[in-house]
């Protein structure tokens, strides 16, 4: 009894420590912020009439100038010291690797929180144990990656200091009021993660489990705040605020953080990280599945791969819409920036992006169709899959069609212009919005089929429900395609709004049809259990494809977002005068992204291998814990 109370006390103290860690940066920051204000006010009093005021470039408010102007750099060893190599490429590499690992270690604890919660609320004890083990497996993978993230962060800072000292010094001077908060947040994240991980066994039941679950919430709040702060730097570089036209800080740190693109970037990155994290864990599970020697292992990793894929795709579906919001805000902030992105210098990269998005959805659908193979009763859907393939292929082809073609003068003459007389029509946003919405709606349909694969509804209105679902999906397709066609007949200023009803149609299918399906499948008759592990190897390659495509696309989008600043370090405030202030060719960028992807996957394989070493040490303990458990994983860690 005393031991239980002791454990409870320990758990509550650990949770309080975490909350304390969360609040620590804020508490530490308060006096310094207050001091900063006093110093400014004091300085103003001393200076008397010589107080200089500046006008915020974005918010258009007036403020007392407290910072130095952005340095006017010159190409030389003082501002741009270098090795005999392109500094931008080195920084690109360091930045991208840090971002990959950072995204992964921020996403995985969110998965853990969701899965652990599912385990806590599930009434089936065996299933609850499986969820708990899965969450533990996830966090174990991320722990090694976490150390690597910190190392890569250090490398990134050194790269900045060594190769771009003037720029880094300016950026850190503007963000000085929150720099130490970022560092403290990082300490809080590390402390919380280790308490969360090492406290798993001590807090696995009852009240203590809820405390443990609360810890994951605190951990994710810290992680998210950390990411928001990091996002504010790139937001400031793209759409500066809180400074005057010379780049002088005006004393309002919230303006510097809360730039025009900060919130769209935050949302886009959270969703992107989750989709990416799901992809990486799914690839890990696929790799373990393919390497598994026993049916038990295959069953476990098949299940793990499915859960990771489902979570990843759940965040992938709203990702294009978050992307649209970001682009909309980019256009609202600077129309020219939007044109450079979508219709100018970087437009071809968006064609590649569309190709990658299409691959993501095709891989997901392919995996789901393969996964139906492990369910008895799902055969009835097999004959309809060819129609889904047709819809996906049509949507995909429209989605990747470029507006104009790269051609020789002879080809240009033969075609009578840069636009193909037929295909050119598909290269506009009206058609592309239709294409991607058809793809996403089809993915939703595949998910609905998968969810009801081995079940037969027993509700009295089952027939009506099935017909309604079919009619609703058909009408949704007609509406999406109809709106895409309608867009050709109305002016651009009206057409631009059609994407909203198209997106709403897709989301209606997602929410209403998932809800309807769940209602219909309540108490449904099972045709047979899901036979985990009995899935084709091809499906696992689809998961690996999914993860690789995520990684590649993240690299690509990061490059697009960064290169839209063109020759500016901080858009319209601090000019990049290094010899590398030009936009690379599409080919060079693609090679660079591929090299980054390759390095990430080789290094993450190393992380997986390290994780497997600890797993190999455990089997004696593991076998004692749950002898002969078939798909169920172990109960002890």
């Amino acid at each position: 009894m005393g031991r239980v109370i002791g454990k409870r006390l320990f758990s509550i103290m650990a949770l309080c420590a975490m909350v304390g860690l969360l609040l620590l940066p804020i508490v530490v920051a308060l006096p310094s912020l207050a001091l900063g204000e006093e110093a400014t006010a004091g300085g103003a009093k001393k200076e008397g009439a010589t107080v200089e005021k500046g006008r915020d470039v974005y918010y258009k408010t007036e403020g007392v100038v407290v910072g130095a102007p952005a340095p006017k750099t010159t190409d030389g060893p003082k501002d741009y010291p270098r090795y005999n190599f392109e500094s931008r490429v080195l920084l690109w590499f360091a930045n991208q690797q840090h971002l990959y690992y950072g995204s992964f270690v921020l996403a995985v604890p969110i998965f853990c929180m969701i899965i652990e919660f599912m385990g806590v609320v599930t009434k089936d004890k065996a299933l609850a144990k499986r969820y708990d083990q899965l969450a533990y497996d996830f966090i174990k993978i991320s722990l090694t990656a976490y150390s690597l993230t910190a190392v890569l962060g250090g490398i990134l800072i050194f790269t900045f200091l060594t190769l771009y000292p003037a720029f880094f010094s300016y950026l850190s001077s503007v963000f000085r009021p929150v720099m130490h908060i970022y560092a403290l947040m990082f300490v809080a994240e590390s402390g919380t993660l280790y308490i969360y991980y090492y406290g798993w066994d001590k807090m696995k039941e009852g009240f203590l489990k809820w405390i443990h679950l609360s810890m994951s919430v605190v951990l994710n709040i810290i992680g998210t705040l950390l990411m928001f702060l990091a996002n504010s730097w790139i937001g400031f570089m793209m759409s500066p605020a809180g400074v005057d036209e010379q780049g002088r800080y005006l004393g309002n740190i919230w303006h510097v953080i809360h730039t025009a693109l900060w919130n769209p970037l935050n949302l886009h990155r959270i969703l992107g990280n989750m989709a990416f994290g799901g992809g990486v864990v799914a690839a890990y599970a696929a790799y373990k599945f393919l390497a598994a020697k026993t049916d038990e292992d295959r069953a476990h990793y098949d299940w793990m791969g499915y859960i990771a894929m489902a979570l990843g795709v759940a965040f992938l579906i709203p990702l294009p819409f978050a992307g649209y919001w970001l682009m909309r805000e980019v256009y609202a902030y600077r129309q020219q920036m939007g044109i450079t992105l979508m219709g100018g210098l970087l437009a071809w990269l968006f064609i590649i992006q569309a190709t990658m998005i299409g691959i993501l959805f095709l891989s997901t659908n392919y995996y789901l169709w393969q996964a139906m193979g492990r369910m008895r009763g799902a055969e009835k859907y097999q004959r309809y899959i060819k129609y889904l393939v047709f819809l996906l292929a049509c949507g995909y082809m429209v989605f990747i069609t470029p507006h104009t073609m790269v051609m020789t003068p002879a080809e240009l003459k033969a075609m009578g212009g840069q636009q193909h007389p037929v295909l050119g029509n598909y290269g506009v946003m009206s058609a592309k919005n239709g294409g991607i919405n058809v793809i996403i709606t089809t993915t939703v349909l595949s998910f609905v089929w998968y969810m009801r694969g081995n079940k037969v509804s027993t509700v009295s209105w089952a027939k009506f429900g099935n017909i309604f679902m079919g009619v609703f999906f058909t009408c949704a397709y007609f509406n999406i395609i109809g709106l895409a066609v309608y867009g050709y007949y109305i002016p651009a200023n009206v057409r631009v709004g059609l994407s909203v009803p198209q997106v709403t149609t897709t989301l209606s299918c997602l929410f209403f049809m998932f809800a309807l399906n769940s209602m219909m499948m309540k108490g449904a008759k099972q045709m047979g259990p899901i036979e985990w592990g009995k899935i084709s190897a091809r499906s696992q390659y689809a998961l690996i494809m999914l993860a690789t495509a995520f990684t590649w696309m993240m690299g690509l989008m990061g490059y697009i977002r960064s290169s839209v600043r063109l020759f500016w370090h901080v858009n319209e405030i601090m000019r990049d005068n290094s010899p590398w202030a030009y936009t690379h060719t599409v080919g060079f960028a693609a090679n660079m992204i591929s090299a980054n992807v390759l390095f990430f996957w080789i290094s993450i394989l190393f992380v997986f291998w390290l994780g497997s070493l600890t797993a190999k040490k455990a089997p004696a303990e593991v076998k004692v814990a749950v002898p002969g458990s078939v798909p169920q994983p172990v109960g002890s860690h």
Binding site: F464, L483, V494, P501
Partner: protein, 43 residues
């Protein structure tokens, strides 16, 4: 409920609900942005 399980009735009811719903989505989503969904038909 038994009437709704008749395929013809089910299709008709489903069509009325779905078409009505999507037209409402198109109209109100455009209206929300200050745009006219029926632009072409008013010309």
């Amino acid at each position: 409920m038994a009437v709704l399980n008749n395929p013809i009735v089910a299709v008709i009811v489903s069509l009325i609900i779905s078409v009505g719903y999507f037209l409402a989505v198109d109209h109100f989503m455009m209206d929300m942005q200050g745009l006219d969904f029926w632009y072409l038909f008013r010309q």
